[in-house]
Symmetry: C2
Subunit: 341 residues, 2 copies
Amino acid sequence: MKAARPNLSELARHLGVSIATASNALSGKGRLSPELAQRIRETANQMGYVPSQAGRALRTGRSGVLGLVLPDIGNPLYPEIAQEIERVATGAGYGVLIANSRDDISAQDKAIFQLVERGVDGIVIVPRRGTKVPETRCPIAIIDTPKTPRNTVSGDHFDGGAQVARHLTALGHTRILLIGDDPSSNVQNTRINGMRSELSDAQTVETIWIVEIEAKHGKGCALDLAAWRARGFTAFACVSDPHALRALTELQSAGIAIPAEATVTGFDNLQWSSFISPPLTTVKMNMPEIARLAIDALVTAIKDRDASDDTPSPPVTARKASVPMELVIRRSSGPAPEAQP
Amino acid sequence: MKAARPNLSELARHLGVSIATASNALSGKGRLSPELAQRIRETANQMGYVPSQAGRALRTGRSGVLGLVLPDIGNPLYPEIAQEIERVATGAGYGVLIANSRDDISAQDKAIFQLVERGVDGIVIVPRRGTKVPETRCPIAIIDTPKTPRNTVSGDHFDGGAQVARHLTALGHTRILLIGDDPSSNVQNTRINGMRSELSDAQTVETIWIVEIEAKHGKGCALDLAAWRARGFTAFACVSDPHALRALTELQSAGIAIPAEATVTGFDNLQWSSFISPPLTTVKMNMPEIARLAIDALVTAIKDRDASDDTPSPPVTARKASVPMELVIRRSSGPAPEAQP
DNA sequence: TAGATATGCTTAAACGTTTAAGCAGCAGTG
DNA sequence: CACTGCTGCTTAAACGTTTAAGCATATCTA
C-alpha cells in the first residue's frame, strides 16, 4: 500500500495533463483555461497534494524560512518578540528558525552563519548588547535602538523614558533613583537618557547599575534601596520589569509601602506585571507593530535582492524606524509622600 | 564578478575530479584515497563551499529541521524549554522551526500541519492543556506529564509536589493552601496531587484555582490570601512561580511578612525567582535533561521511520519517561509561626 | 600466469519543483 | 489564401545534492 504523499507528476498523470500544466494551475501563472485550472486545483485538494518545499526551494533558490536570533531566549524580555515575529512571519508565508546567541559574543556570529548555511531567506536579529552584526549577502533586519548602526526598527525607548519621567514629575517626586542593569546595553542607556531628558535640575536624579553592585556583593544581592529611601528618594524607576520586581519586593520586604511611601516603575509590561500587588506601572512596547515593520522590511529586501546580485546585502530599512511606546499606569506609582520619614 | 557561493560541481571542476568524488570526500562515505579526500576537504574550505540544504533535502528526503510547538511563547514557562530544545537540537545537527498554538485549541493542529507541510523531520510539542495531539506520519515527541497519552518525556511533577509537601511538613506547617491556575492542566493537576499525596490527614489542606476566582471577580483580582492567613493558613504552595509571585506580593502588600508570618513556594525556578525579596523557594525542572531525552528519542524515531514506511508514526518513546525535579530552598519558606494572630 | 578481488575513481540517475521555449490549432487581418 | 498573433497546452532543462552501478587499474591467490 502506498499512501505516501502524491507529488506533482502523480497528480498530473492522474489527470492526464503535463506536469507543467499542473504546476501552472496551482500557482496561477501560465496560460491555461480557467476550467482546467479549477479541475486541477480540486483534484489536488482531493488527492491531498502538498508541494515539496525542498523541490521548490531547490528550483527557486528561496527556502521560505526566516531566521530569528535572540541573545537569550530564557530572558523574559524576548519571548514576546519571538511570539510576534512568528505570528507576522507565518502570516507572510514564512517559517521561523530560531537561534540562540546565548549571550555569548562569538555565538551570535556563529548563529547567523548557521542560519545562512541552512538557507534562510533573511534574518531578524536582536543584537547582544554592544556587538557588531556581520555583513552577509543575506538580508538582516536589526531590532535594537534607533541609534544602533543599521538598525531597522525599534521601540522609541527614549520617549518611553521621557513618559515615565513626566509621570513621576507630575506625581511630585523630586528625588528619583534610576535603576539599570548593564550600562553596555543600548536599550537600557536610551531608556535612562530618555528619563533624564525630562527631569529638571530642580530634581535630584541618581543612577545605579545592578551589574556593578553585583560585581561587588555577588549575584542576587540586596540593592540597599531602603537606604536610598531613607535619604529621601521616593521614586525608583527601573529599566525593565524584572528589575522593578526586584526593587518592589525589596522595598516591601523592608516594610516600605508601595505606592504610599515609594513609587516603582518598570519597562516592557511583562505578563505578570499586572498580577502582582500592587500592579506595576510600566511602559509597553508595541511589539505587533515592530514585528510587522521588521518583517515587512525584510521581505521587501528579500524580493529586491534578486534583481541586483551584489555580494553584501544593503541595510534593511523600514518605513518607520521608531515605534511609540505606551505608558501603562497602574498602582505601583503614586503621589510623592509629603514628608521624608 | 561572480562571488556567489560555489556548488559541488564548481568545486569538482576546480579540482579536476568528478562531482561524486567531491561529495564522497566531504561526507566520508565512498571509496577514495585519504590524500585526495583531504585535498578536496581543504579546497572546499578554502573556496568557502557550503552544501545546499535544498539540494540535499530534495535528494535525501530529510530537511534537517525539527518543529517546536508551544502553547504560548509569551508565557514565561516555555522559553526555557525552547532554549534547551534549540540547544540540544543544534548539537544534533538540526534546526528548530517554531510554531505557536496561541492557546487556541484548533491552532495547535494547524501549527502541526504547517510544520509538516514545511517538511520538518519531526516535531516536539508541549500540548495545550487537555488537547489530543493528532497522529501523523511525522514523528512527534510530546512533553507534558507521565500520564499523558503518548507522552515521551517530562519532569516528575508528582514527585516535585511531594518534595514541596515534605518541605512544608518539616517546617511544621499544618494549614496549607494549594494555589493552582487552571484545573484542566495536566501539569498543574499532577503537581497538586503530588503535594496532597505527602500531606497527612492531620494537616488541613485546601486548593483554590485562580481561573475560577477570576471568572467571578475579573482578571488580576485579589486572591484574598490575607483572609486565608487570618483563618490560620500559614503555607501557600503555588503551582508555578508567577502565581507564587502573585501570592507573595499580595501577602506582602497586606503587611504579612514572608517568611516570618507566611511561607510561599512556587514551581519552575524562573529567572527572577532568585532575585526577588525574599528569594522564592521553588522546584526546578531538569530541562537540559528533558530536552536531551526528547530530542534523542525523536532523532531515533526519525532514523527508524525510514525502514518501515507505514503511514502513522508510532508514539515516540524515550529511554526515561520521567526526570526528577529538584527542590530549591530559598528564603520565602520558613518555620510555621508559633501562634495564629 | 590466470583468475578473483580490492581500490579509486567516474557516469548517470534520481529527488520534485519552476519556467523558458516550443508547438499545434484557431481566429483575425489584409 | 497566406500571414500574423493569440490560446492552451507540452517538452525539456535546470536547481544541487546523494548514491547505486560501472569501469579501469592494481593487488592478491592458487
